[in-house]
């Protein structure tokens, strides 16, 4: 009788398939290097969008920050630059994100809380005081009010003497996921998609080095999507925007290179190799999609360029320093997957927006990875691994499957409008939570390896309570010093342009120069576009 086999722990992949104990050549039938992989920088870009990747330029280390008033954000930006950060990433407070001024009803409790408060162009200008816009790129996490923030960026650059054409950076400008996951919508989907298109069209003409859109899978993941759904939904959403711009007569090779993605790494469903394979598979899916479905000819249109966000959702309130280790694994997975830029959630983010220490530690995690580990020395070092390539194939196929299912059910916009997708993902989140509660899904410090004794409290960031008063005074002063007639005139012209269905970006400059507030501009546009009403989602 044969010796009894050692008992093997069963493992199931995120795709629901059983995972073998090892992989070999039989897992890659019909594998062809040129078709499946090809060299980095070559179609279908499985191994990376550029040929030399981190040997020519390290990924951009870009920690998300923005707080309180423009002065204090300016200080934190300078602090991060002094510590070796290579790009900026600006967080706005909620009123700014949903088009309310600091003095409007419902706004006061959130002024300067999750990011910087911006009411007028003056606030925006102060954020960049002493920081030259031709030397640094900024990523803006802004969606519903993205056209206004872009216009402010252009105006501040002009004032600094920097040509619009030279501006670099990324603006999120991805409104559809806000209806699913993050809730900073203003207008209904249809005019909102039109505004996304306006921004892409404007950047195509005026700001060729700027990523006009960063379709985000991160928030969708936090909302309950699994890692593969988060990428598939982001691509389905990107296609809505592509169609919007194409229908205006743009050529796919003009606009596709302006698209970038912000994708999650980590979170409660994190799996090191699956996540790497998922992003490699997504690169190949996108390349084929753009070439075969949209007829792209330019290589740049087919390059799936993404930044990654190391997800806070995977971090725990218990034993918070463990989160530094989690973030380090997320970072390494992102680098193996070929990210171009990385933001890591900080160890104290379960409690508040990060402290200086926490944000610096996240930056150091990245710097250690880049400088001390050697992982950035060879492009796609996992390429050719039987397991990784088999998974990459599966992931690419699954992305296609998810998108085809959405399309067959009327498309992503319809699913958002009737709340189907929100319900499905929230229910998944609930199921995962129950698996954690039952201990089936292990979370160190939460349902395994807990400690009894009360831990020392972390020193968390606290918003300066004077923020609101300072911002209100400033807004009052800005309103007192402006020409009211000019504000009203320029807003009227903006409303007329919106009613004529023109691209609104060029019509935002005059109201902003006249010191119209973001709230006033949004109120003006609401009269044309209407206001979104949430469907019932539970």
């Amino acid at each position: 009788m044969a010796k009894k086999e050692t008992e093997v722990r069963p493992v199931v992949s995120i795709l629901g398939t059983p995972v073998k104990t090892f992989y070999g050549p039989e897992d890659l039938p019909d594998f062809d290097y040129k078709t499946n992989l090809n060299d980095p920088g070559e179609y279908p870009f499985t191994r990376g969008v550029y040929s030399t990747m981190y040997r020519s330029a390290m990924w951009t280390m870009r920690q998300y920050s923005g707080q309180s008033t423009s002065e204090s954000t300016n200080e934190r930006f300078k602090y991060l630059l002094k510590n070796g950060q290579t790009g900026l990433s600006l967080a706005f407070d909620l009123p700014t994100q949903i088009g309310l001024d600091s003095d409007m009803p419902l706004a006061e409790d959130d002024v300067g809380k999750l990011g910087v408060a911006v009411d007028t162009l003056d606030d925006f200008e102060r954020i960049y005081d002493g920081i030259s816009l031709d030397g640094i790129s900024t990523s803006f996490t802004i969606n519903a009010t993205a056209p206004i923030i872009l216009a402010m960026y252009v105006l501040v650059a002009q004032k600094q003497g920097v040509e619009t054409k030279k501006l670099r950076g990324t603006i999120q400008n991805d409104i559809l996921k806000e209806y699913i996951a993050r809730g900073t919508w203003i207008f209904p989907p249809e005019p909102s998609i039109k505004l996304v298109g306006d921004l892409v069209e404007y950047c195509n003409k005026e700001m060729p080095r700027f990523n006009a859109i960063s379709v985000s899978g991160t928030h969708i993941l936090e909302y309950g999507a699994n890692t593969i759904q988060a990428v598939a939904l982001a691509i389905a959403i990107a296609e809505v925007y592509i169609r919007e711009v194409l229908k205006r007569g743009s050529d796919v090779d003009q606009i596709a290179p302006l698209f970038s993605f912000h994708l999650p790494i980590g979170g409660r469903n994190f799996n090191f190799l699956e996540d790497i394979a998922r992003l490699r598979g997504a690169r190949r899916y996108w390349a084929r999609l753009l070439k075969e479905k949209y007829g792209a000819k330019d290589k740049r249109s087919m390059q799936f360029r993404f930044s990654t966000g190391g997800m806070g959702g995977g971090l725990t309130a218990e034993q918070p320093l463990n989160n530094i280790a989690r973030a380090a694994y997320y970072a390494m997975a992102a680098v193996f997957a070929g990210t171009r830029s990385l933001n890591l959630a900080c160890f104290d983010e379960v409690y508040a927006i990060p402290s200086d220490l926490a944000i610096r530690t996240s930056l150091r995690v990245q710097q250690i990875l880049a400088n001390e580990t050697g992982v950035a020395d060879v492009v796609d070092p996992l390429g050719g691994s039987y397991y990784v390539e088999a998974l990459t194939n599966e992931m690419e196929a699954k992305i296609g499957e998810i998108i085809a299912k959405i399309d067959s059910e009327g498309g992503i916009v319809k699913q958002i409008e009737n709340g189907t997708i929100q319900r499905e993902l929230a229910m998944q989140s609930y199921t995962l939570q129950k698996r954690i509660s039952s201990g089936e899904k292990v979370l160190v410090g939460v349902n395994k390896f807990q400690i009894k004794e009360e831990e020392k409290d972390l020193e968390v960031y606290k918003t300066d309570p004077e923020t609101i008063n300072r911002q209100l005074q400033r807004l009052k002063a800005a309103k007192a010093n402006r020409d009211e007639g000019k504000v009203q005139d320029t807003l009227k012209q903006l409303a007329a342009a919106a009613a004529r269905n023109e691209n609104i970006i060029p019509h935002l400059f005059e109201p902003l120069k006249a010191k119209a507030t973001i709230g006033e501009i949004i109120e003006t546009l609401k009269k044309v576009y209407g206001t979104y009403k949430e469907p019932t989602t539970v």
Binding site: A181, A317, V460
Partner: protein
Amino acid sequence: MNTKKIIRVLIAKIGLDGHDVGAKVLIYWLRDQGMEVIYTGLRQSPEQVVEVALQEAVDVIGVSILSGSHVEIARKLMKKIRERKLDDVLVLFGGTIPKDDIALLKNEGVQGVFPSHSKLEDISTFIKDKVKLAEA
């Protein structure tokens, strides 16, 4: 009369915070525990929430806030609750809440505080204990 009462809960998002998956997870859980749960949707004011609580005769108001504005919002909500004489309603807060702020919320009259990553069982047990006590 000792008819078994079904606990009625209102889960509310007050302020501008749009992160509501935690609220929804809790809604599913409380429903699975046999409670009746109503959800306000996003961007509600304390006044709106108190009005719904009155109309729906709820036993519990659970407020989810991840934007850091929980203390200010608790102050406003509790004031409205007192004005409308809803003192019997059990008020819970959950979300991104630093440990130091738990005492601040309790000072405002919030009875239960459940920061992010609290166990679902702890929340439902807390509700069942408190609401039962009030009925006894």
